[in-house]
């Protein structure tokens, strides 16, 4: 999942797809690259579970999976909390 988020274009796609109003062709217009290249980025995000393609009427829109993003964020936050706790305990020992 973090690998899928490692690319600037893909992060931008994830951001834009939060509203979920655009299809692949519309998203592709935002980037100075080929339609196929954008399609490839979206496929990587889809495999990582970060976006899904949903049918609304006759169109297929790309929508961000917010729950997947929250999981990634939560993991990093928990790890940060773990180490903040450790550093606080270390400081209490050496600065006493």
């Amino acid at each position: 999942m973090f690998g899928a988020l490692a690319d600037r274009t893909r992060r931008d796609i994830v951001r834009r797809a939060i509203d979920g109003g655009e299809g692949v062709a519309e998203l592709a217009k935002h980037y100075p690259m080929s339609f196929a290249a954008v399609q490839k980025h979206i496929a990587i995000l889809e495999r990582a579970g970060l976006v899904t393609k949903q049918r609304t009427g006759r169109r297929k829109v790309v929508r961000t999976n917010l729950e997947a993003l929250r999981v990634a964020r939560r993991l990093l936050d928990q790890y940060e909390d773990l180490w903040r706790g450790r550093v606080d305990r270390m400081a209490a020992l050496v600065e006493a």
Binding site: F2, G3, A6, R73, D77, E80, D81, V94
Partner: protein
């Protein structure tokens, strides 16, 4: 006053923690090199650590278990690859089976600790942890974490950003 900065790099799956202490480097080194000191900070209060083997020399090993609120005792070990007192410690940090052997089903995290005096009786310590993948990070967090830790949701910018820096 401890100054701490945490840099999270989701793309490299690393987290770097930097802290400054009002203490000389030798004293900060003791936090790692003295098993009784290590026991006092490694585990959260709900999961105190007990160190049963401790040899922080290159090729050496540290073994410990933690004791959870339900009496559960997850085990872990370090394999020391580099040790240069009081400046540098590099080790593989893994989970162990009940008999103390490495649990190869579980991920191993590489930790690099550097300690340097910065003048005025202060010392800066940096710990860089590298994980193989997201699942590895998740498994490590499942051990020794406080129950019911606040689930930070909502803000997605930190995940989307290449690098997050928070200082207090």
């Amino acid at each position: 006053m401890t100054v701490i900065a945490v840099r999270k790099n989701p793309q490299a799956l690393t987290m770097t923690v930097e802290a400054e202490f009002d203490a000389p480097a030798g004293r900060v080194w003791q936090l790692w090199a003295d098993p009784r000191q290590l026991e006092r900070w490694w585990g959260p209060p709900t999961y105190p650590a007990t160190v049963t083997l401790h040899d922080v020399r290159p090729g050496g090993r540290v073994e410990y278990h933690m004791t959870g609120p339900e009496g559960d005792q997850p085990k872990g070990y370090w394999e020391i690859t580099e040790a240069e007192p009081p400046k540098r410690l590099v080790f593989r940090d893994g989970f162990a089976n009940d008999d103390g052997s490495p649990n190869t089903d579980m991920p191993v995290n590489l930790a690099r600790v550097t300690i340097e005096e910065i003048g005025g009786g202060r010392t800066r310590m940096s710990i860089q942890s590298t994980y193989a993948d997201t699942a590895a990070m998740e498994q490590q967090l499942a051990m020794g974490m406080e129950e019911g830790l606040t689930q930070a949701v909502g803000q997605i910018d930190a995940v989307l950003a290449e690098d997050t820096v928070r200082t207090r």
